[in-house]
């Protein structure tokens, strides 16, 4: 409860700073908090806006599905073998620190404009953190779990499902938190270039028009959405850690 009130205090301070910056920079540069909320409300009330939201959500969900399933499968496979892990880890971290926008022309040439390119872009951003977290969670798992699986003579698939997956779930959720954020970022960047619809497209459009009000409103919506999802995942992670 105390943490919550502290966090509220921080949010309040951020609002004050925002308002102060607005006063300093003027309306042309930074919309005030109140105006941004009003603009967001009017956006949410207009029927033109929702198709964009749904478009982004659709790409996000698809990219997350592929990223999570792929990341888990890859992370679990690599995690089970020490050698595979040692070989793969530097490669994965290197790919992670590569500015992925540079690969964007390649994605467009391979997938064309539209939904597949956006999803591919989201997956490129989100897959690696989920893989790395899963892989390391297995590496740090207590060895006794695997011995239990061996004494019970479980097949590898059943050992994975009944023993390994439950054991590493909390770490997987932390990987998912980072993976979620980056997938959202990837989908948005993908939409900025590879699409005529979606929130990313709205943002790049508003950027080109110098329409700060819309940018701020969409950014606020994205931040609130990301914070909410992150909070939910955090609670899920904490609950899983009790087992």
């Amino acid at each position: 409860m105390k943490t919550l009130s502290n966090t509220l205090a921080v949010i309040l301070i951020m609002l004050v700073v925002w308002q102060a910056l607005h006063a300093l920079a003027g309306n042309g540069a930074l919309t005030s908090p109140w105006d941004t909320v009003r603009e967001l409300a009017s956006l949410l009330g207009s029927s033109d806006f929702w198709p964009h939201v749904l478009e982004t959500l659709q790409a996000l969900v698809l990219a997350l599905l592929i990223g999570v399933i792929g990341g888990l499968a890859l992370g679990m496979t690599l995690g089970m073998y020490r050698m595979a892990r040692e070989v793969a880890e530097p490669i994965l971290l290197n790919l992670y620190s590569l500015p992925k926008v540079t690969l964007y022309p390649l994605v467009l040439l391979a997938f064309g404009l539209g939904l597949p390119a956006k999803v591919a872009f989201g997956v490129m951003h989100g897959l690696i953190p989920i893989t790395v977290f899963t892989m390391n969670a297995i590496a740090q798992m207590r060895p006794v779990f695997l011995r239990v699986a061996a004494t019970q003579r479980l097949t590898p698939a059943r050992a994975m499902w009944h023993i390994v997956l439950p054991a590493i779930l909390p770490e997987v959720v932390s990987g998912l938190r980072l993976g979620f954020s980056l997938t959202l970022l990837g989908v948005l960047i993908g939409e900025m270039f590879a699409s005529q619809r979606g929130l990313g497209h709205l943002i790049i459009n508003a950027m080109n028009l110098g329409d700060i009000k819309t940018i701020m409103a969409v950014a606020l919506l994205l931040i609130l959405f990301a914070l909410a999802c992150n909070g939910l995942l955090m609670r899920l992670g904490r609950r899983l850690a009790h087992y």
Binding site: N136, L188, G231, M234
Partner: protein
């Protein structure tokens, strides 16, 4: 992420090239050879991707001719500036937060959601505040990079063993002495992990901002080449970025490994 991975299995004395390094090299070489083969046989069309050897050859060519020297210099300058700024700023904020537990408890949940915020959205705001040019790009890269340094600083300060604090008391060191001679060296391996991430994010931030929003720099040059169907230039530049990132990562990882090994003694 890199913090826990690095601490898992690095032994202090490690042969210069382990078996895993050899296998990894083989995997990468085989992968590149496979892509080369697919390109040469036309499975991957020339309009989609040129062969890796052609990328490398053209990359050497444009470096010799100096076609993109200006863009490369601009990007590297921005990256260095952003990395230094975010390391210094992140360290300062980390130290401040560490000394104020209440503020820290309030801010930490927000930090973990930080990467969900698409920072570059605020570029127009930065342009109005900071003017056109390098400053807004550096600002975006710093926004992206600073948080990992803050987290690493907090982590490092948390993990200074208590016996070291007591040693400082026993030796009657002044606060400054104890900070410089005991706390900083003890936290250094963690701080370095933060620096490593900051450099990586500064790279991502600068190149991505240039790609989206700028009129010069490596990111811009790649976007420009793409829009004008100059595939050879584009792939040569992508190749250059890939090589640069890999080289920087390898250097930083080597230093990181040494520091981590020192921590274990």
């Amino acid at each position: 992420m890199a913090a826990d991975t690095a601490s898992v299995r690095v032994s202090p004395r490690r042969p210069r090239l382990s078996r895993a390094d050899g296998v990894r090299l083989t995997v990468v070489v085989v992968f590149i050879a496979l892509v080369e083969l697919l390109c040469r046989t036309g499975v991957i069309a020339l309009s989609v991707m040129i062969a890796p050897s052609a990328m490398a050859a053209h990359c050497v060519q444009i470096l010799r001719a100096g076609t993109f020297d200006h863009d490369i210099a601009v990007s590297l300058g921005n990256i260095v500036a952003a990395a230094i700024l975010s390391v210094l700023l992140g360290f300062a904020v980390g130290v401040l937060l560490h000394s104020a537990p209440r503020a820290r408890a309030a801010i930490e949940p927000l930090l973990s959601a930080y990467y969900a915020v698409p920072t570059f959205v605020f570029y127009p705001v930065f342009i109005v505040i900071l003017g056109v040019g390098a400053a807004p790009i550096i600002a975006i890269a710093v926004l992206l990079a600073v948080v990992s340094m803050v987290t690493a600083t907090l982590n490092g300060l948390d993990r200074i063993p208590r016996s070291l604090h007591k040693t400082a008391l026993v030796l009657r060191l002044s606060p400054l002495q104890s900070a410089l001679r005991i706390k900083l060296p003890a936290a250094l391996p963690y701080l370095f992990t933060g620096m490593k991430l900051s450099v990586a994010y500064a790279f991502i931030g600068v190149i991505a901002s240039e790609f989206i929003l700028s009129g010069e720099g490596l990111g811009y040059a790649i976007g420009y080449a793409y829009n004008n169907f100059q595939n050879r230039d584009m792939y040569a530049l992508m190749f250059l970025v890939l090589v640069l990132v890999t080289a920087i990562n390898m250097v930083l990882n080597t230093i990181d490994r040494r520091l981590q090994a020192r921590r274990r003694r």
